[in-house]
Amino acid sequence: MKNDIKEMAFEFSKAYGPPGREEEIREKIKRRVESLCDEVFVDKSGNLIAVKKATEKSLGKMMVSTHMDEICVICSKVLEEGFLRIEGIGMDPKLLPSQKVWVHTRDGERLRGVIGMLAPHLQTAETKSKVSDFDTLFVDVSMHDINKFNTGDFITYDNDPFEANGKLFTKTLDNRASCMASITALDFLSKMRHSYDYYAVFSSREEIGAFGARTAVSLIQPSVTIAMDATFSNIAVPNNKKVEMGKGPVIARGPVLTKIVTEKLESCCKTYGIPMQLEVSPGRTGTDADQLQLEGVPTGLVSIPSSYMHTPYEKMSISDITEAGRLLAVYCSELDESSFEIRSDAKEENK
């Protein structure tokens, strides 16, 4: 395998990329996929699209959408005394106190900030009973010239990834892990025969509504799309079967997801001995899939089990990411001219 999962995870987690500001992470992914693909380009929405053409006459396009943007906070006000007031995109304010962060300034600098928490000595019974919210949180930037900061500066976590017992602990595994899986699929495909072009879309702006995926699917007009994202594992979600980390990728069933795609994904796992789990998504999926389906193409959703989503240290198993990549590659290689035939009831009767 050309691209090592752990290495990618560490590299990607350090790359900046809030919604609409994906330049840095896009560049890092681009460098890894260039040698694996026939064509790599960036579209108007900021999606990175990497195309691996079919090894024989192309019968169609398979698009895999993995968002590369990350959750963040944003500076809403600059205080002269050396502090910034903030608002969040997808962040849990409870986890922000006492974090080191990066402030990405208008001039392109990456400056240290510290989200402070009043020492317990100075807390009162009243303040002790409350959790932090965006009304009270602030970033201490007193180590820099305050004039460098502006309202609208993006702020992201800064922390060091680590691996323990085959588990990755780092920020932005949602959804950079899926990006890694799609890159891994490209790695696998470079040694496989496939008659569909593989379009790896590293999509933008998922965390504020999956706009990137929506425009990419319109542009590409694929025969089939697969969205990939993180899903909750090792935790009881009421009325749901518990997903377990390390037991393989998770295939979702639900109205947004097209039956022929889901069934084929499941049968690929069986045929090739890929461990898999099932989850249901009776409503919207909360992923790129919701937008992809609107284009009217068959849509599937493959997720990677994750713990502690949207926190500074999300957790995933390396093997789940590798297996998800293998599943995508195998699925692509199994597609043929009849894969997406519309078998209407009328047609059945004519037989």
Binding site: F83, H121, H310
Partner: protein, 346 residues
């Protein structure tokens, strides 16, 4: 602040100060400026530097320990239950990196994804939902790496900027660092005998410092602390404890002890003579080892000089380099002159 980075990054919660003590002892020995070194059963490290006048002894004191966590149980799923060592606000723990056990293995204090939270969303976390994840599959696997009673420490990389330093445990490695700086730069004999006491277990109830008095006939104690700033935007100015960049903070009253007026005045007089910026600590909550030394054995009088630090007892503290430098200047002058102990002769 030659050693502040290392001092800040070393792990040493109360009762687990060995690595801090080893580091400090090595630096003290390297300086070749000490006449006598003593370690006791508790883990206190005491270094005597004889003065020009040996009829009096000043005890300079800083604590080596920091706040942290202790493993109290291991769950079926391999995650560790922990309890606080010292005053830890549970709200600063979520999403933080920790070094676990004797081998300092990697761990993290996770929290449920925001999408799945119900009552947890607005509740202060409790020890029931605070866990340390070390990546183990189950209890058995965790037990091969961690034992009940092992410590967990905050893991924070120290950083230096033009006017600020960022790191953990400035309470009270800042004090330890000030003492090492003064010792290393000491070209002349101090005015009186001087004991550099690096003490243990301050954070769990001022438990180490009292025993130091057994070994030296000290006339007074001067405690060096990294103390609360509280100059955060959510606190009104009148509720601040200290303000960064306003200079070393001098205490006049703390929980359990009224600072000796003569010593307090001697510090202020020195700061004024040197024209050093300085401030009075604006809040009286919290205590220091002076309380203990004043209550132990002969009850020696004491005073406290603080380096203001924001967000103490959390994984990330912020301190002003100017305040630190001015603290070193102030303390150095006090130990080289007679005014501090002389003030007691009335």
């Amino acid at each position: 602040m030659k050693y502040l980075k290392e001092l800040s990054e070393i792990y040493g919660a109360s009762g687990n100060e060995t690595e801090v003590r080893k580091f400090i002892k090595a630096k003290v020995l390297e300086s070749k400026k000490i006449d006598y070194i003593k370690e006791d059963h508790l883990g206190n490290l005491m270094c005597l530097k004889k003065g020009k006048n040996q009829n009096k002894t000043l005890l300079l004191m800083a604590h080596m320990d920091e706040v942290g966590l202790m493993v109290s149980d291991i769950d079926e799923d391999g995650r560790l239950c922990v309890q606080a060592v010292g005053g830890v606000d549970k709200r600063v723990l979520l999403g933080k990196r920790v070094a676990v056990g004797k081998e300092n293995i990697e761990g993290v204090i996770p929290f449920k994804a925001i999408h799945l939270q119900n009552s947890e969303a607005t509740a202060v976390p409790s020890w029931d939902n605070i866990r340390v994840d070390i990546g183990s599959a189950d209890r058995k696997e965790s037990e091969t790496k961690v034992q009940i009673g092992d410590y967990c420490h905050f893991k924070t990389v120290f950083e230096e900027y033009e006017n600020r330093v960022i790191g953990k445990a400035f309470d009270d490695r800042a004090g330890c660092s000030v003492m090492l700086d003064i010792l290393e730069a000491m070209d002349d004999l101090p005015y009186y005998n001087l004991v550099f006491a690096f003490v243990v277990q301050e954070e769990n109830g001022l438990r180490g410092s009292g025993a130091v008095l057994k070994h030296f006939n000290a006339d007074a104690a001067l405690v060096l602390e990294g103390t609360t700033a509280g100059d955060n935007p959510e606190l009104k100015r009148e509720r601040w404890s200290t303000h960064l960049d306003n200079g070393p903070a001098i205490s006049y009253l703390q929980s359990g002890y009224v600072i000796d007026r003569r010593l307090f005045t001697a510090i202020i007089d020195t700061a004024e003579r040197l024209e050093l910026p300085h401030q009075l600590k604006g809040r009286t909550v919290g205590s220091t080892d002076t309380t203990r030394t004043a209550k132990s054995f002969y009850g020696i009088p004491g005073a406290v000089i603080n380096v203001p630090s924001r967000y103490i007892h959390s994984p990330v503290c912020v301190m002003s380099k100017e305040d630190y430098k001015n603290t070193v200047k102030l303390v150095k002058d006090i130990v080289m002159n007679e005014i501090f102990l002389k003030s007691l002769e009335v």
